[in-house]
């Protein structure tokens, strides 16, 4: 029964994601209608076909698409929408896992220092006179994982990682890394604006290349986390109960921590620190589909994708484009307060 509900909800949300994405692709300075968007998408569809030169990718449709339209939709808007979907998916996924793992309503993907670590990496790259291809995402990704691993090492003693210690270690490390970021910003010079912009979280320089880097990572770890949804449920009963119910508690915690850290790191590396998606979306979905992670995890992730695509559309529609992190926080925080006042999230 859970399985059928999960499929139904996932299908519905996937449909919503496609719809929101198509609408988003029609919005922007250039006036491109839904039909034109559909034609660009269909034109890009290719199937492997054996032709004169051997096996090749051939489009089954022969549609008249202007080069300008193809560039705007296929080269600018769609990669940004796709990246927004991947990042939103990843953040909401990691947020759901962290809230369940910590049994704490305030937990979000950055709670064990992943985002702050990524920020240190990114700002360091911007401030330092180095130049590497894919340098910024690579630095951010490395910083994120180093911070998470550091927090884990600090909180682990004798093979056990108590979640309360982990939480406090995360807070302390975040405070320390915050100091490092401030110091680096002081010396960022010309890079200051870029750095601040990155810290706010945006999807402006989205390319298919970034999608190709982030998507496989998120997909692989999503499958891993999906395999641990039952353990996540049982862990909500407390670690001792989980042990008596046959869960290898410490090993499960390691998997959950590592997987959600990597997923968050991948998202933050390509988009900067976009807040509130990983905090709000899981709460909303929990109200709708209930606390069972078997259904909550995939639906939260999909809803996160929808939410970020939609908010990023708003972000790029304004007179002066602003980082989507501002929009998610500006919309997310009041909504969260509303939920809090209605006492929907008090009992976690």
């Amino acid at each position: 029964m859970v399985f059928r509900r999960t499929l139904a909800w996932s299908a519905g949300l996937s449909g919503l994601l496609v719809g929101v994405s198509l609408v988003s692709a029609t919005l922007g300075y250039a006036d491109i209608g839904p039909l034109a968007v559909a034609r660009v998408v269909l034109d890009a569809v290719a199937v492997p076909t054996v032709g004169a030169g051997g096996l090749g990718w051939v489009s089954p449709f022969d549609l008249e698409v202007s080069r300008t339209t193809a560039t705007i939709v296929g080269g600018l808007r769609l990669p940004r929408i796709a990246l927004g979907a991947v990042v939103g998916f990843a953040l909401a996924l990691a947020g759901t896992v962290m809230q369940g793992f910590f049994r704490n309503p305030m937990a979000d993907p950055s709670i064990i220092g992943v985002s702050t670590g990524a920020a240190v990496g990114a700002v360091a790259f911007i401030a330092l006179p180095v130049s590497v291809p894919f340098g910024l995402p690579a630095f951010a990704f490395a910083g994120a994982l180093l911070a998470a691993f550091g927090v884990y090492l600090i909180a682990t003693e004798g093979g056990r990682t108590p979640v309360a210690t982990l939480l406090l270690a995360g807070v302390a490390v975040q405070a320390f890394l915050g100091a490092v970021i401030s110091y680096l910003l002081l010396h960022a010079g010309d890079g200051l604006e870029t750095a601040i912009y990155w810290l706010m979280g945006h999807l402006q320089n989205s390319t298919w290349g970034r999608v190709r880097v982030a998507l496989p990572v998120v997909a692989v770890f999503f499958v891993i986390l999906l395999a641990y949804t039952r353990e996540l449920n049982v862990l909500l009963l407390g670690e001792e109960d989980a042990h008596t119910l046959g869960v290898e508690v410490e090993r499960t915690k390691h998997v959950l921590l590592a997987a959600s850290s990597v997923v968050t790191a991948a998202a933050v590396a390509v988009s900067g620190v976009i807040g509130f998606v990983g905090l709000i979306v899981p709460h909303v979905m929990r109200l709708i589909v209930g606390p069972d992670h078997r259904i909550l995890l995939p639906t939260s992730a999909l809803a996160g994708a929808v939410f970020l695509v939609a908010t990023d559309t708003v972000a790029r529609m304004g007179p002066a484009e602003m980082p989507v992190g501002i929009v998610t926080a500006a919309l997310g925080a009041p909504f969260f307060l509303y939920l809090l006042r209605r006492r929907e999230v008090h009992a976690l």
Partner: protein
Amino acid sequence: MIRLDGVAVELGGTTVLESVSTTVETGQFLALVGPNGAGKTTLLRTCNGVLTPDEGAVRVDGEAVASRSARALGRTVATVPQETTLAFDFDVRDVVAMGRTPHRSRFATADDADREAVEAALERTETARFADRPVGELSGGQRQRVLLARALAQSTPVLLLDEPTASLDIDHRVRTLSLARELTADGRTIVAAVHDLELAARFCDEMALLADGRLLATGPPGEVVTADRLESAFGVRTAVATNPVTGTPTATPLPERSSADRRVHVVGGGRRAARVIGRLAGTGATVTAGVLPAGDIAATTADAVAGELVTAPPFEAIPPDRRAAAADLVEAADATVLTAPVDGANATLARRSRRLLALENTDPPPAATVVSESELPAALSAEPSRRSTTAPR
């Protein structure tokens, strides 16, 4: 079968269990009793593998618990915890279904065996009625039964219960323990920490008395529940008697004696005397009684709570040595209480008292002050104790 061999556990530098060895045979119900902090919960946690003993080993069916995987243990030992922290609000049925976790492979959905086990567990624990309600809406007692259902759904040969009746009403206490009793008939082995000695004695096969991390006694309840053992375990005097309804031992804790207490001697037998003896003992006085017919209910009570007691064979003249012994007690007492009309030897005794109090309808001698049963403790303390006021002779 569960076997504990010299189990010792240290938690945070404190020894919580020390050389605990015992065996619970398959299909037996062992009740763990003992004061708070005796180590009952810790003992259960070594049996389900949550704690690894620092010394010794716990074996279930010959295999050491510490060396088995959580999944293998989850199929062998189920635990009903005292309380559980349920973070997000699951339905009762969902929580019970979590008991099936060790039986399912990672991606498998629930099969018929799972569903049957869950429904059966809901039925047996009488939780089916609220199976579709969120656990957070239930009362503490209902939640405790849900945890029991979860453990039953686990379908394990060994069941550990930690205070399974703590927040239950009297009806469900008995039902829960008789359910545990029934489960032993299916061949399950049960270890339960129970605070209520009387309930424990009534439903278990064997009892283990723990105090300060050591096993003081194991055996049938009748052998374990004795005033001496309970006093050394709990540090409180108890009156142990046989429950007339269940035929199992019952222990009643008594208040501590104060050093400046007074002595009261009770003359007369029967229920009324038994009540008075219990009541006076409850005020902290040293109560003596006699001469009572052996086997009289007052004699039984006095035997449990009173300081000294003189009995004589019933339906016979009281032997002179018994009479003298009782006279000594009367003379030593600050006051003597007459609880029934007396004649013969007992009437003579009453006359030798320092201060004579008599309950109503006892046909008392003129020297007696008549008081009601409820006024008695106050009447006795109104007069200062002899030892505290009389100058040394």
